[in-house]
């Protein structure tokens, strides 16, 4: 019976984890990262990130002291790098939940090697994202304004404002992602607890493992909870970036107001999120020698997602252009054909097209999908391209105001640059701490997709797939 689940070589199916993996080996390989001394590569990354984070602290102190004028934002470009960075980070934060939820619902078992890191990345990216609107308000001590709190002024937040929807959407997303991540972590924290050599580790991991004992009565509710979280996270992911897109699309600004924005933003978010997951996992894989768990097959599949979402994003760009022309509307046509494609920001527009639409097309070729250096380069390209996408949308639409006398051009200040770089410091500091102290791969889930995890597996007489192979042909021959 179990032979049906064995990979069929003739149609190119490969095992998900390298063949030598058994349950214990997975535990060992993942848990040892948190138990052994950190490799030098980790320290290099961590200290670099920490210094950038220090830089962010200083930059923010200066920014709060001077005010938002320290950035290059000025009329008509009142939104620039800050909101670009916000949307960019939120977008990156979409892959984690997507991998966890959507791929889970679609039973893409290969997700198990990458979902933990992707979820962690989601949470850290959303933290970075939340920072930007937080500091963009200028008077950070008034950050409580958007929350529905009774106050002495007797007024409430305006629930018709897309920016308020953002507050609810992004904070809900952060909370739910954190819960999802934590629920997934519980069995693995129990694994670390049970392997602890020191009392402190036992106490800390034990406290967070909540006394998990692998009980099937627990697994039953746990699996249902996981399924429900996946099911509600999927529309949540869609809604969050849709709500972010509403910030722009509900306006009457040409280049912002277009109906495809919600799904287009979501596709872009998935695209950039997967690119960031790839960038990070390629590094983690080398630094911690996880080649057996994050295999070429995973990389190839992720590249397929990159190709798919990159093409969807290309479709959205094409729709914007086509409909701008088709509408016959002078303003729409101006924004796309004059402003974006040939205007002062044409360099940004074509960088975006090159990175987001052209570069992923390399992955049509199988050997290129399986090339690690190329994957790394393209993932970086996509990260850059998706930043430019937001920059193009925000800045090119704003810099040509309806009043030609107000036309402008955005020049970033060193504080703009430092705020952006500093957010990397925040992100990578958190990510380094994560890979050092928390199982970077979902141990229990990877075990669950090993062939040996099938309760009927050991009833077969061998692990050799080729033995079962003829049975397939015969079994399906009649009927």
């Amino acid at each position: 019976m179990s032979s049906a689940n064995a990979p069929i070589k003739e149609i190119g199916e490969l095992p998900l984890a390298a063949e030598q993996y058994d349950f214990h080996r997975i535990t060992e390989d993942v848990a040892r990262i948190t138990e052994n001394p950190a490799p030098r590569g980790w320290w290099v990354l961590f200290l670099t990130a920490l210094s950038l984070l220090g830089g962010l602290g200083l930059t923010l102190a200066y920014l709060f002291w001077k005010g938002i004028g320290a950035w290059g934002n000025n009329q008509p470009i009142s939104w620039a790098w800050d909101i670009t960075n916000f949307v960019w980070w939120v977008g990156i934060g979409h892959a984690g939940t997507l991998i966890s939820a959507v791929l889970f619902l679609f039973r893409q078992k290969w997700r198990t090697s990458i979902n933990r890191a992707a979820e962690a990345m989601t949470i850290f990216a959303v933290i970075c994202a939340l920072m930007f609107p937080g500091i963009h308000v200028g008077r950070v001590w008034l950050m409580y304004y958007p929350f529905p709190l009774p106050n002495s002024m007797g007024i409430w937040p305006n629930f018709k404002s897309p920016l308020l929807w953002d507050v609810f959407a992004v904070s809900t997303y952060f909370t739910v992602s954190l819960l999802f991540w934590f629920v997934g972590l519980i069995p693995d924290l129990a694994t670390l607890r049970d392997r602890s050599k020191t009392k402190l580790r036992r106490m800390v991991y034990g406290a967070f493992a909540l006394g998990w004992r692998g009980s099937n009565r627990h697994w039953q509710h746990y699996e249902r909870a996981y399924l429900i979280l996946a099911a509600i996270s999927t529309p949540l992911v869609l809604s969050v970036h849709s709500v972010v897109s509403f910030d722009f699309a509900t306006s009457v600004e040409p280049g912002w107001h277009t109906t495809i924005f919600p799904p287009y933003f979501v596709a872009g978010a998935i695209f950039s999120g997967f690119a960031m997951v790839l960038t990070l996992m390629l590094v983690v894989r080398v630094v911690f020698k996880l080649h057996g768990l994050i295999t070429l097959k995973h990389i190839e599949l992720m590249n397929k997602v990159i190709l798919t979402t990159g093409t969807i994003v290309g479709y959205a760009y094409a729709m914007e252009f086509f409909i701008a022309w088709y509408s016959g509307n002078d303003y729409e046509r101006y924004v796309f054909f004059v402003n974006r494609a040939t205007g002062p920001y044409a360099w940004a527009y074509w960088t975006m097209i090159l990175c987001n639409v052209i570069s992923p097309q390399l992955f049509w070729k199988k050997s290129w999908r399986r090339s690690i250096p190329l994957t790394f380069v393209v993932s970086i390209f996509v990260n850059i391209g998706m930043w430019f996408e937001r920059f193009v949308i925000i800045v090119t639409s704003l810099h040509r105001d309806f009043l030609p006398s107000s036309w402008g051009y955005f020049h970033p200040t060193p504080i703009d640059v430092m705020t952006y770089l500093g957010s990397f410091g925040l992100f990578f500091t958190l990510f380094c701490l994560f890979i050092r102290w928390i199982p970077v791969i979902a141990i229990a889930e990877v075990k669950g997709v090993l062939p040996a995890a099938d309760p009927h597996h050991h009833e077969e007489h061998s692990h050799d797939d080729s033995h079962h192979e003829p049975a397939h042909g015969e079994a399906s021959a009649e009927a």
Binding site: H24, T27, T191, L210, W219, A452
Partner: protein
């Protein structure tokens, strides 16, 4: 188990047995053993595995999880709270006319109502799961077993409570042995 065990006759000093723990090497063996334990009519028992074993719910004869209902109630609560909040704040207490929309503009309520529905559902799913599983519970006699640490690594366990009506030190052990348990032990707990 903290509860007193009146039937117990095997008592060593101030300790008393609470669990019989059988170890299995593969999920398949554990699953089939679970089927036997279920068919023998035990009620207070459990299996412990490093990952959820496919088909184990059926092998143990567990009824379907009720978590979905908790989530449904929470989802409805979230939706209604959001709608009520928006209505109270922007329609009743301080009506706002913005963007040419009436104070009660249903479409613009959709995003926040949706988000709070999801938020409450997630709380329902996670904390409902904790409630049904009675977690966190950091103390459990099963942790007294040294071998049990492998339950989160690569071994599969069945634990039968001594309190179970069907429990009989010899028969239960024989049942588990016949189900190919690789190791069987009795877990004892100090009498409070």
């Amino acid at each position: 188990m903290a509860s007193a065990n009146h039937e117990s006759t095997v008592s060593t000093g101030e300790k008393k047995p609470v669990l019989m723990l059988a170890e299995f090497n593969t999920p398949g063996e554990c699953l089939h053993a679970a089927e036997k334990v279920r068919d023998a009519g035990y009620a207070r028992w459990d299996t412990h595995t490093p990952f959820p074993v496919h088909g184990m719910d059926g092998a143990m004869g567990l009824p379907d999880s009720k978590l979905g209902w908790i989530v449904a109630v929470m989802a409805l609560t979230g939706f209604v709270s959001a709608a009520a909040m928006i209505w109270y704040m922007n329609v009743y207490d301080y009506p706002l006319i913005i963007g040419g929309k009436p104070p009660l503009a249903l479409p613009s309520m959709a995003p926040v109502c949706f988000e709070l529905t999801i938020l409450f559902s997630a709380f329902g799913a996670v904390f409902g799961m904790f409630g049904l599983n009675k977690l966190p519970r950091h103390h459990h006699p099963i942790f007294y077993s040294d071998r049990f640490a492998a339950a989160t690594d690569d071994k599969f366990f069945i634990s039968i409570e001594v309190d179970d009506a069907k429990y009989d030190a010899k028969k239960t052990r024989a049942l588990l042995e016949s189900a190919k348990a690789s190791h069987i032990e009795i877990i004892e707990e100090e009498v409070a």
